[in-house]
Symmetry: C2
Subunit: 349 residues, 2 copies
């Protein structure tokens, strides 16, 4: 029933004795947990580790994805947990080549949560769903004692219909394919970090949370089957996404680091904190691998979508070094760009 | 897109200033929260408060439901959070007249959770899914700081196909219809209460968690369109379920209290604690309203299903007193059986 969007080249093993924050960070530890423990036990097709599962109900093929959200604080410049909970799920469907049609949602609420805080998130969800063109059709609510759940956790499941004219499959990626990025990286993660107020830093930044479906639709209309693979680079950032591409696609990826757009506020905060903007989470960006003959047209199409004006080609797929991402620097040197290790920014979505 | 399985007769309003434990208990306060605040903001069809939403994707009509689980302790006699998370969702689909085909699941894990605790729940989910004939096709995992999330919270969404030959609609309920109950009440809730060890009570009880789909299928095979309405009486118990029937169906419900099967251990604990077994949660029982001409055949069919041996007719639908549930006692007296108010047993599922 499940169809796979991503094949793992070599299985990771989960050897840790307990869950650590890093297992939720979206990087190497998260992948070990999911690939080494959860998927082999739960999934009939444990290779199925894409953004959404594709499931046939009679003649209808649907994409299904589930996400949970534990961001702290609940509200931050540019968005809130409710908005993330809708956009994140819509985006997981979009990058698997599907348009979200129905969402269901569950809430774990902390006793003592003020009514207006909950109401604001419900309204944020409703508005985000309306903007993304998806309906919320049901849900469930539980309450836990004061001191648990940090206000609220939200889980959303999205069900979508597959877009025509596109098949997202990492196995179709070929050397020479171009890697396209929709805009500046790291805005979401650094915004959350600054919103916590633990650091004596300020920057004029907002989360980039939004539906990436319009970008996906623009891309697919221009490049169709020339779109080989897409991903929204959330937890673990663009670096982790590209490492998954290299690993699962059995290819190398080379990017020109200077071509990656980064807002000054993100770059400054990352320099101060010793973080790499390529490891910081985004909530409204798109990484796409496009056949070389379609790349120019694809880039024009994405740039024509509101919010895609800063899209650019940041690199390309190569046959070698297989399973590895290289970042070329402005001086011609190259460095290996690894997946996120550890968790510099817990609970960013 | 959403079709409604239950219509609310008169809307409740949510006037509380903050979330309390009772809002998660499944009784009157839960209903106020969902009906007075969440549904009007989130749902396009806020009357849609059944166990599952029915959504059309092209020519395919599917039932979708979402549940979250925050039970404490994670393991208890007869089951565990993982088993509940599968069965609860399968059951919400079953009582809306659908067979679960695919599940997706999200985990909020507490940092410090031991690997074997997580692994045991994954295996419990896998086994429950296998027993219920449903596939788990995807999921998501987040980690929160030690001290939050009490080990783990699980959220599951189920997608199912509608069973042929049955339409579950509270508006089809008529005076004279018989109320059928599949077996003894209160086992789950009292088992959880005792498993916490806060009370100096012991009883030989186990949670009744299981898939009720075989019971539903037996019932539907025997009574078809004679099955008017079903519900699994979880949080808030049979009393709350019957009150929802009376309210949403615009009818009265009269039950013979002596006909309700209750295990001695449940009855004893309830007497000591001043609880009504009809308010205690079940996780593997079924309440069904069946046309009178089908009732005998329906009862035989349910009793023939393993686990349905103790099914019985506990009462009937009447025109009056509209919106009210009456329990007749052995001495011919009657009492009004209200929805659960407050939360005597927090976090039982």
């Amino acid at each position: 029933m499940a169809t796979l969007t991503t094949f793992a080249a070599a299985k990771m093993r989960f050897k840790d004795l307990q869950i650590e924050m890093a297992h939720g960070a979206g990087g190497k530890a998260s992948r070990r947990l999911v690939e080494g423990l959860i998927a082999p036990i739960l999934l009939e097709s444990p290779d199925a580790l894409g953004d959404a599962a594709h499931v046939a109900f009679g003649d209808t093929r649907l994409a299904i994805t589930a996400d949970c959200f534990v961001v702290r604080p609940l509200r931050f410049p540019g968005g809130s947990i409710g908005e993330l909970a809708v956009n994140g799920t819509v985006n997981d469907l979009a990058v698997s080549g599907a348009r979200a049609e129905a969402l269901v949602t569950t809430f774990v609420l902390e006793a003592g949560l003020r009514r207006e805080v909950l109401e604001a998130e419900l309204r944020a969800m409703s508005a985000a769903a309306s903007r993304a063109g998806v309906r919320i059709v049901g849900g469930d609510t539980k309450v836990v004692e004061h001191g648990d759940a940090d206000g609220m956790y939200i889980s959303t499941t999205g069900i979508g219909r597959l877009l025509a004219d596109v098949v997202i499959d990492v196995r179709s990626v070929k050397p020479g394919d171009q890697v396209l990025l929709s805009g500046p990286v790291g805005d979401h993660g650094i915004t959350i970090l600054l919103a916590r107020g633990d650091l004596d830093l300020e920057a004029d930044l907002r989360s980039d949370t939004r539906s990436v479906l319009p970008l996906v639709e623009g891309l697919v209309a221009a490049a169709g089957r020339g779109v080989r693979w897409m991903r929204d680079p959330t937890r673990g950032g663009v670096a982790t996404t590209l490492n998954e591409l290299a690993r699962d696609g059995g290819c190398g990826v080379v990017i020109n680091e200077d071509d990656v757009p980064v807002h000054d506020g993100v770059r400054g905060a990352c320099e101060l904190l010793g973080l790499d903007p390529l490891h910081i989470a985004n909530e409204g960006q798109l990484v796409a691998v496009v056949a070389p003959e379609c790349a120019a047209e694809a880039l024009r199409a994405v740039r024509a979508v509101p919010g895609g004006e800063h899209a650019c080609v940041i690199g390309e797929v190569r046959a070698q070094p297989r399973g590895t991402v290289l970042a070329m620097t402005r001086y011609g040197a190259s460095r290996v760009l690894d997946m996120l290790v550890g968790d510099p920014l817990p609970r960013i979505c």
